[in-house]
């Protein structure tokens, strides 16, 4: 109410603007003192900026900006951008993840060059994500997607003297470039048949489409899906993910696997629901729901099965991240035209992404902590770690069990609500596949727990320091993961409300 009446409309983009401005501030700091390694200042500014953005997003969300109660979505720049509940919800996810990553980076990046660049790149990527969640046209979607991707490429290759990091950056970039050309080509095909890039116009044009063009439209739609599959690390565009997550600095992996994935889903949800409405698409024979169903099953299966036999914890997490993409895809796969359950399914997916943002970020940050200690990356290296660092290991246990979907952690609710809503929508087979994979995932997640708590350490390592930033970030993530169980109500209710608004 408040915003709707008293603030100019453009302020609805506040979170994104704050992020962008923070990035610029960082550039300024960097240009004033190019060799600055004052982590505290850089990280502090970044954290303040992202928290401010998060605060604004949460405030807007609570105040109902862009939601049905206050007059519906706010469209800006001739409908190119839209601010509604969903975009704010996702912005909250991105900024929370980014804030945790920044806090953790304070230690991780200590004594490294180019810190300011790192922080500003992450901030720019976050800005891109915020815009991505708000984009209401294929053009803004593409641009903000690239704005997200381009800094990410650089971030993955941030450790430029580390072969793994560089290799990861290369692969990420190459697959990314290929994917974005596919994406753009898909957009061009859709434009070819509809003559518009605005979601609503595309939708109405598709509704009147000559049946003979449906092949072109269909290829375009699926190619666009491919572009999002890249961003969300879904099969078959997932190939970059294991290497990128493994090779990248762990905070970046956390950022990419949590926020970037969420961003991909944010835009995918909006594009497919708004630009290619199910009823229209099915009439044209473009059954993207089925396509996402197949992708969901294949993605979760591939991700989990590959994760089950990894030796490297970080790579295991990478594959698990693919598996989770598969779960979230259920949100797009368990839809049906005009069904009342659509909002529930999509909302459950969104809620899962939020919880995932905490637990997965936490897990990668724990890996960052271990890397910081120089312990090693394989499961064996983690043996007996709990004796040395019980608090951190307890937090990691929380993340692992939460990822596996065990209570009393947030991942339990989000995963089971996701399955439940899929069943509720009649797609019980998706839930069944999810359940199978979930059981398998328990196996490999508990391997980490087993290594930390059950295995004997060989006593060869000493933990030299207690990095405050990393610890703080991990604890925040752990507490978030825990609190999201009893406090899941607002999350799921908000998510389902804003998701339902998308179908409205």
């Amino acid at each position: 109410m408040l915003l709707q009446t008293q603030l100019p409309q453009w302020t609805a983009l506040g979170p994104a603007l704050i992020l962008a401005i923070t990035a610029l501030v960082l550039f300024v700091i960097d240009s004033v003192d190019p060799d600055s390694t004052d982590s505290a200042l850089l990280a502090g500014v970044s954290v303040v900026g992202t928290l401010a953005a998060l605060g604004v997003a949460a405030w807007f969300l609570a105040a109902g900006t862009g939601q049905v109660g206050t007059g519906g979505e706010i469209t800006l720049f001739r409908d190119a951008l839209v601010v509604d509940g969903m975009s704010l919800f996702f912005t909250a996810i991105f900024t929370s993840v980014a804030a945790m990553v920044f806090v953790a980076s304070y230690d991780y990046l200590k004594d490294r060059p180019d810190q300011a660049e790192f922080y500003s790149l992450v901030l720019l990527a976050t800005t891109g994500m915020a815009l991505l969640a708000s984009s209401n046209s294929l053009a803004t979607a593409f641009i903000s997607l690239e704005l997200t991707s381009l800094p990410s490429y650089a971030l993955v290759a941030y450790l430029k003297r580390n072969r793994g990091s560089v290799e990861a950056g290369l692969k990420y970039f190459l697959i990314g470039a290929l994917s974005s050309s596919v994406f753009v080509f898909g957009i061009s095909l859709v434009y070819a048949v509809t003559g518009s890039l605005l979601f609503s116009d595309v939708a109405s044009a598709l509704g009147d489409l000559d049946q003979s063009f449906r092949g072109v439209a269909g290829i375009g739609v699926l190619m666009i899906a491919g572009g999002f599959a890249f961003k969300t690390a879904s099969v078959p565009f997932h190939f970059w993910a294991p290497e990128a997550y493994e090779g990248a600095p762990a905070p970046v992996s956390a950022f990419l696997s949590s926020a970037s994935k969420a961003a991909g889903f944010a835009v995918a949800f909006r594009v497919f629901v708004e630009a290619f409405p199910i009823a229209t698409a099915v009439d044209l024979g473009i059954d993207w729901v089925l396509a996402f169903g197949i992708l969901a099953v294949v993605t979760m299966t591939l991700g989990n099965f590959a994760a089950a036999t990894q030796e490297n914890v970080k790579r295991m997490l990478a594959y698990s991240s693919i598996g989770h993409a598969g779960y979230v895809l259920i949100g797009l796969a368990a839809l049906s035209a005009g069904a009342a359950t659509n909002g529930d399914v999509l909302g459950a997916s969104m809620a899962h992404l939020l919880v995932y943002g905490f637990m997965n970020t936490g897990a990668f940050l724990f890996v960052a902590l271990v890397e910081h200690w120089g312990v090693g990356r394989t499961f064996e290296d983690y043996n007996g770690l709990a004796e040395r660092a019980p608090m951190a290991c307890a937090a990691m246990t929380v993340f692992m069990f939460s990822l596996a979907g065990l209570p009393p952690f947030g991942g339990f609710f989000s995963k089971y609500f996701l399955f439940a809503s899929a069943i509720g929508a009649g797609f019980w087979w998706l839930a069944a596949f999810g359940a199978l994979n979930s059981a398998l995932s328990l196996f490999y997640y508990s391997r980490v727990v087993k290594a930390m708590w059950i295995e004997e350490s060989d006593g060869s390592f000493e933990l030299t320091s207690r990095p405050i930033g990393l610890y703080a970030a991990i604890m925040v993530a752990a507490v978030g993961t825990l609190v999201l169980l009893p406090g899941f109500g607002p999350v799921i209710e908000t998510a389902q409300t804003v998701a339902a608004a998308l179908f409205g």
Binding site: Y153, A154, L178, V182, F185, S188, P242
Partner: protein
Amino acid sequence: MVPAQWYLMLSAAIFCIGLFGILTRRNALLFLMSVELMLNAANVNFIAFSLQWGNVTGQTFALFTMALAAAEVAIGIGIILVLYRNFRDTDVTKATTMRW
């Protein structure tokens, strides 16, 4: 005026050629060039159908594509250079320290 479908064919051909390049060549720079071809294929579509539909949306989008392609190339070359520095090679199949 040439029918827009022909341009569709053309762009498809260019796209496929670019894809073919990506699949067959191992040099990272050729990879980049192939991607440029594919992006151009999309641009051909945009511009052709921009005319067809009588709006400038397509043209505008093509402009964005160019700008982003340029940025992408810039980033890409940066990465290729550090790749070269680390692996003494621009062969993308050589960087396989991480797999499985």
